[in-house]
Amino acid sequence: MKVQKLSVRATALAAAVALIAGGSVMTAHAATAPTYVDCQLFAAGEPDHIDPALTSTLVGANVATMLYDGLTDTDANGKLIPAAASSWSTKDGGKTWVFKIKSGLKFSNGEAVTASSFVNGWKRAAAEKMASEVAYHNYFIDGMEAYNTGKGAFPASSVVANDANTLTVKMVDVTTDFPSIAGHSVFSPIPSSMNSADGKVEEDGTKLIGNGPYMLASAITKRAGGEVVLVPNPNYGGTKPTLSKITFKISSDVNAAYNAFASGQCDNGPIPAGRYTELLGKWGTKGVKTTLGTDYWGFNWEDPVVGGTKNRDLRSAISKAIDRNQISTVIYQGVRKPASGLLPPGLPGYKAGQGLTSTRDLEGAKADFKRWTAAGNKITTPIRLSYNDGAGWDKVASIIIANLKDVGIPAKLDPFPADGTYFTKMRQGKGQIIRAGWFADYPIADNFLFPLLDSKSIDGDNLERYSSSKFDALVASARATTNPAFAQSQYRLAEKQALVTDAVITQTVNRGIATVLAPSTSTFPISPLGMIVYDQIVKN
């Protein structure tokens, strides 16, 4: 009997636990409509920085672009548009650029935005002690590389504030695309209070002061679980933003981030891998956008089996055998579309069909492979498809291996450890067929072709170690010309040289962004550079 009493007490204790845990279960509310807060979820990784001089991640740059307006910007169609600059011009074909700054612009602290604000911002960003990862974008400007490496003073004669509204910039070489490059966040202006601010300024929300549509509301926490809160900049000179507050929540797990969205914590959320069709069907496709990025597989130019001019037919066979549509539909469920060249749609100068093929050509692949073997070549060990493990690339590689099997080309998975060293190893020539991809820093063809395929980029982003004097000459002539139309034609020829004549890389899909949105979101603009234009979001 006494034991029974104890049991009753234990049960009561359990009930108490349930009450503590359940809390409001006992005060059940009537069912209410879902309500969302103005909140955006980061799940693609935490921002390294939100200081425009330092940030090198897409998520960090996305916040920085809300805090700062540079000279130029890119609209939803990839077209260059004015931001803080009202106009720009060059009298020497692109060696010197003159930007006219709009009058009446102010930072959030009330200080006027002038040409000097840009000089100071660029000086700070390229300072050696800042050790910014993105400072190399300044190297287009004469004297900036020496300044960044401590070999020279700030090139005051190359970045000149002629008056409050005129900024003159002298380049190292002719740079016809500099107005596009100047849209990068590293070229943001700063107020005088930040002239000597170091990289830790962003720790304090009151000191990182910008001229963008929003300003920081509080000190930030950039880690998983942290938040960055923005409120409208009362002194903003452009169109006033629509949301009265944006809370960026930093999530470290894509599944948890989606659950947070689906539980009403945020207005948008990421889509876990393999659930694109299901979740876009449920929440709608307003948050889907093709961006300026391309996935591709490159052939190690120095590899005896797949590299060099003599193995061009094998590379062509592999390129024609790949079923890009299968990769697009099976892996990305249509969010990433089959690519037809290295340069993505939406990039100025883009032309479709620059690659060998965008559709599968099985007969062509077999014919090319037959020609290659007839020339006395043979594959003694399966060709390696090298990729960084743990990021889902094994699925893409598996499709390609199955595709190659149809042609009779033996291939195998070649995973490299997910310890961050994959690209370093590829740069050292340790891959055979190399998984790679590129996302535009700014919307220009040179930003793809020079770093990825020029011989000067070997040991850098030219993972294939591709070296072609013809390609280099085409890119060099495009860079040197003062005629933008001629430059575009040269870039297109260079793309053809690498993708068709030499077949050194084979593109698979163009990158895209897909997010799920709360039903209350009616407009959710995403720029081709993958930036969500938060100040133009409209909610019902």
């Binding site: 104890l6 845990a21 809390g23 490496t149 690209f423 850098g460």
Partner: protein, 331 residues
């Protein structure tokens, strides 16, 4: 009392040696494992050598290892744990922010764990062979086999996504972690605490409950318990004063070990729930070889483990006066 004081001082001294040895080992490992935190910054896009050099100099990584090691301890003695290579945040700030969150999660996790373990363990022992006992066994075995990232996501779905889709906001417990606190008590948004704390709690609660049940059943077979009942003592007095107190000794050991293990569970829980605690920071920092952060957090984790062990050892003497702190029993 003097013995206990001496013992405590001795153990604290040992703890300092353990912390030094562990940190030195980890410091060494960071220089042995492939890659370095600076070259890891070059991902899909490579960074020019000039940029990498600037970053290397900024963090003093161009200095010889022994100089870096000496500087680390020199800064540590001045209370400065350095700055993250990843985002330049002060490790002191990361610890300050992270410890508060992790501490609160651990407190509530441990409390929930204790309540669940006592409830299930006592019920199972008292009602041995009953449906409640069998359910307790199923609960214990079942819950232990579920990884935290699965139980966490499942909890988010069952107590977040599902109620929200059904417009049952009262049942939606997947909420943001509370931002306002009075010590360990959330003063707003308490719902955000419940799911992470329960996920932390249930993993070892089941094991402790089984341990308590076994221990209690063993004690209940002892002669002195039968004597106590025969003397006419109330069931409550026999259970709680005689049986439970003796049964708790092995359970306290397990609970102490569990508190250290909870740290590991909390790492995963913080990751699954994206809480701004130390756990997720340790995991992320280790992957990016952010050694200042990892070393700073390691000092705290190791010290925490050592302190918990010390408290467990000292608690033996409090629970059972026959046990002395130096390990010798009174006879």
């Amino acid at each position: 009392m003097g013995t206990m004081f001496t013992y405590t001082i001795k153990r604290l001294g040992q703890m300092l040696i353990v912390v030094w040895a562990a940190v030195t080992l980890m410091f060494t490992l960071f220089f042995i494992i492939p890659g370095d935190p600076i070259s890891l910054k070059s991902g899909e896009k490579s960074l020019p050598p000039e940029i990498l050099h600037n970053i290397t100099v900024k963090y003093g990584l161009d200095q010889p290892t022994i100089v870096q090691y000496g500087r680390f301890w020199s800064h540590l003695f001045h209370g400065d744990l350095g700055y993250s290579y990843k985002n330049e945040k002060s490790v002191n700030t990361i610890l300050h922010d992270g410890l508060a969150t992790s501490g609160r999660l651990l407190f509530w996790g441990a409390l929930f764990q204790l309540i669940i373990a006592l409830t299930v363990g006592l019920t199972s022992a008292i009602k041995r062979g009953s449906i409640g006992d069998k359910l307790g066994t199923v609960f214990s075995v079942g819950i232990q086999g579920i990884p935290v990232f699965v139980s966490g996501l499942l909890a988010q779905y069952l107590f977040g996504v599902l109620p929200f889709s059904m417009h049952w906001d009262w049942a939606n417990f997947y909420k943001p972690w509370p931002t306002q606190w009075w010590g360990v008590i959330p003063t707003e948004g308490w719902k955000g605490l419940v799911l992470p704390a329960l996920v932390v709690a249930v993993v070892d609660a089941a094991y402790i409950a089984r341990m308590l049940r076994s221990s209690l059943l063993e004690v209940l077979r002892a002669d002195y318990i039968r004597t106590a009942f025969a003397k006419g003592l109330s069931a409550r007095r026999v259970w709680f004063h005689h049986a439970l107190r003796n049964a708790l000794i092995p359970v306290v050991t397990v609970y102490g070990t569990s508190l250290i293990a909870i740290f590991g569970v909390a790492v995963q829980t913080e990751k699954v729930f994206s809480l701004p605690g130390m756990g997720s920071t340790i995991a992320d920092s280790a992957l990016s070889q952010d050694s200042p952060v990892v070393l700073g957090l390691a000092i705290v984790v190791i010290a925490f483990g050592a302190i918990v062990n010390l408290i467990v050892d000292l608690s033996y003497a409090l629970i059972d006066p026959r046990i002395k702190v130096d390990g010798k029993a009174n006879h």
